[in-house]
């Protein structure tokens, strides 16, 4: 482990990779700040840039983008009450009132310190938890992996559905169906290609992510006539005030950071949960344990009310890397995109990654510390200037996002068919999003489809065609019970809502 860690430190601290972290954090902050473009779009837009990189550098860049996007989302939440990403909605509850009271600089500093602390504490947890979990997961067999993936798919559907579980399940099934287009991995038989040579290798993961997130998001901005640009004066330096915190404020923040980083990390580890749920939970939790006097401050510019979601969402981002790195199963939509990118580099995340490519495994974990430092040291002083990005008009932004999406896909195949296909998928995604069909379950279904089939096939063949592995193996059985509980919980919540 020590040897692997040293290799990881060497990789992460190479000048090139430090530059990657800085670029990632910077680009992520800018993209995350723009309302509508979240971390998934940010990472999707970065994929084409990483083609020439080695997997470690690419992963480090994407992790930096992820952090940066969450941090950037907080900035727009605090300054203009327009969260760039769902994970920072709860930051606006206290951040925006603070900003209106003339303490925007202080609010941004609290957000930065809380994000840094949350990310760092969670990275320490990851350092301890990931190798242990990787060792345990080495004993997993195909049947267990199949069961685990089912839990992951159901959890994402349950959490991403915003009360519409069945719609999320339709998207999961659609994602799984799309993953079967192209050659079957075992028999090499072509399926669902309809004689079209462009579909024989299957649908490109980058194409699907770009179309369903970046491109459809750009269409959505025009479609909904979203007013995403703000006056430069709204975010001018003069209105930010001081970024210095008083001793009392620091004292108030510290216990909150300690509690909510633990909470955020464990919520992040759960498949499907992630930054949004962690931040809401943390805000609610801190409010519920606050004294009667402090409780009144929540929603009106409370230091604790801002520090809690900011800490938790960054800790959850780190936590979501645990299932990705140790089990090879993404815990959130964003890590699903990263998994797809890793697979396209020929890297299979999972317990073997820890054994076979320790430099990659550790470099990603260590770069998270570097990312947190970069966000604090580089981004905080630059926030007044970066925030001016919010003044980019949508009629400039939308064509640029479309251009980067098209270029990203074209660079993989140099095939015009992919551009047409992407535009059609983006249009269909737009319609589905208007009808409240969530996109993350589709992406996760698409990415896990191949692995799910491979593991199910192996489990069935080992069991002589029987599905008895579901109840014969204790790990599989436990995981299937969890899957059933997730479904039952959704059904119960549906009935409860109907009654209300």
């Amino acid at each position: 482990m020590i040897e692997g860690m040293m290799m990881g430190i060497n990789t992460a601290f190479s000048g090139y990779n430090i530059l990657m972290v800085m670029m990632g954090c910077f680009a992520g902050t800018i993209i995350g700040m723009l309302p509508g473009l979240g971390p998934m779009s940010a990472i999707a837009l970065m994929i084409p840039i990483t083609y020439g990189f080695d997997p470690a550098s690419a992963m480090i860049l994407m992790a930096g983008v992820y952090y940066g996007a969450i941090f950037g989302g907080s900035t727009s939440s605090i300054l203009i009450n327009a969260p760039g990403v769902a994970g920072t909605v709860s930051s606006s509850f206290d951040g925006y009132p603070m900003s209106q009271q003339g303490h925007a600089g202080k609010a941004l500093a609290i957000a930065a310190y809380a994000s840094f602390s949350g990310g760092t504490i969670a990275a320490l947890f990851l350092l301890v938890a990931a190798p242990q979990l990787a060792k345990v997961s080495l004993s997993f067999q195909s049947a267990d992996y199949f069961a685990l993936m089912c839990v992951g798919l159901l959890s994402i559907a349950a959490f991403a559905s915003k009360g519409q579980f069945l719609k999320a399940m339709i998207m999961t099934a659609l994602g799984l169906a799309l993953s079967t287009v192209g050659q079957d991995s075992l028999s090499d038989i072509t399926r669902f290609a309809f004689g079209n040579i462009n579909l024989m290798d299957g649908i490109s993961f980058v194409l699907l992510v770009m179309a369903t997130f970046a491109m459809s998001e750009a269409f959505m901005i025009i479609f909904k006539k979203m007013d995403i640009n703000f006056k430069s004066s709204d975010v001018s330096k003069a209105s930010l005030g001081s970024i210095k915190l008083s001793k009392e404020e620091v004292k108030e923040m510290v216990p909150t950071i300690g509690r909510t980083s633990v909470l955020g990390f464990f919520v992040g580890v759960l498949p499907g949960a992630g930054a949004t749920i962690a931040s809401f939970l943390a805000w609610g939790f801190e409010r519920s344990i606050a004294s009667a006097k402090d409780k009144l401050k929540f929603g009106k510019g409370s230091v604790k009310g801002l520090a809690a979601p900011e800490t938790a969402n960054n800790a959850a981002c780190t936590g979501s890397f645990v299932p990705l790195l140790t089990l090879g199963i993404p815990g959130s939509g964003t890590t699903a995109v990263m998994l797809g990118a890793l697979l396209s580099f020929g890297v299979q995340p999972g317990p073997r990654l820890y054994v076979e490519q320790p430099e990659l495994f550790w470099a990603v974990i260590i770069s998270m510390y570097i990312g947190n430092v970069v966000l604090l040291v580089l981004n905080l002083p630059l926030i007044p200037y970066i925030a001016r990005i919010l003044a980019i008009p949508k009629n400039i932004l939308v064509p640029l996002v479309l251009f980067f999406s098209v270029t990203g896909v074209y660079l993989i195949s140099f095939n015009s068919f992919d551009i047409y296909f992407m535009a059609i998928v983006a249009l269909i995604s737009l319609v589905l999003r208007v009808l409240n069909y969530p996109m993350p379950p589709l992406i996760l279904g698409f990415i896990l489809g191949g692995m799910l089939e491979k593991n199910l096939r192996r489990a069935v063949l080992i069991n002589d065609g029987s599905f008895s592995f579901i109840w014969e193996r204790p790990i599989s059985l436990s995981l299937f019970i969890i899957a059933i509980l997730i479904v039952l919980l959704q059904v119960y919540q549906g009935f409860k809502k109907e009654k209300e």
């Binding site: 099934a173 169906a177 025009i222 589905l432």
Partner: protein
Amino acid sequence: MTINYTRISAFVFLLIFLIYSYLAGEIRVFAFDENADFNARTFPKLISYLGILVSLLTLVLSKNEKEDMGQYEWVSVIILFALVFSYGLLIKTIGFFVSTNLFLVISYLYLGVRSYKVIIFSSFPVVAGLQFMLHGLLDVYIRDPFLQFLGVIS
């Protein structure tokens, strides 16, 4: 039963998964694999069952209330879609640099940008910068007859 957008979409998905199920049954497998416990048809069949089940449940269990779609900019999106399509058509023939700049300039103009300074600064330097990064720094070759004609790239 109220016919609303959710029900219509669920019905469309039901049709899609029924067709998918039929096509899954039509996948040609090797003769020795025909009666195997798991062949190239098995997984798609299972997915189709899941899809049919959840589409049916959505169709039956969704709320009996009318859904308002609101006012949306359909025309602008269709025009942008057509522009992306044309961009795909031109990128091979006239090359990356000219087609991308054309796409950006027409999109800006269509979306209401009237300042020529803004249009020029948000298109040519961006495209040139990206192309330099790809060609010069990342060694990613993009065929570009126009720049080849000008002698900018070999």
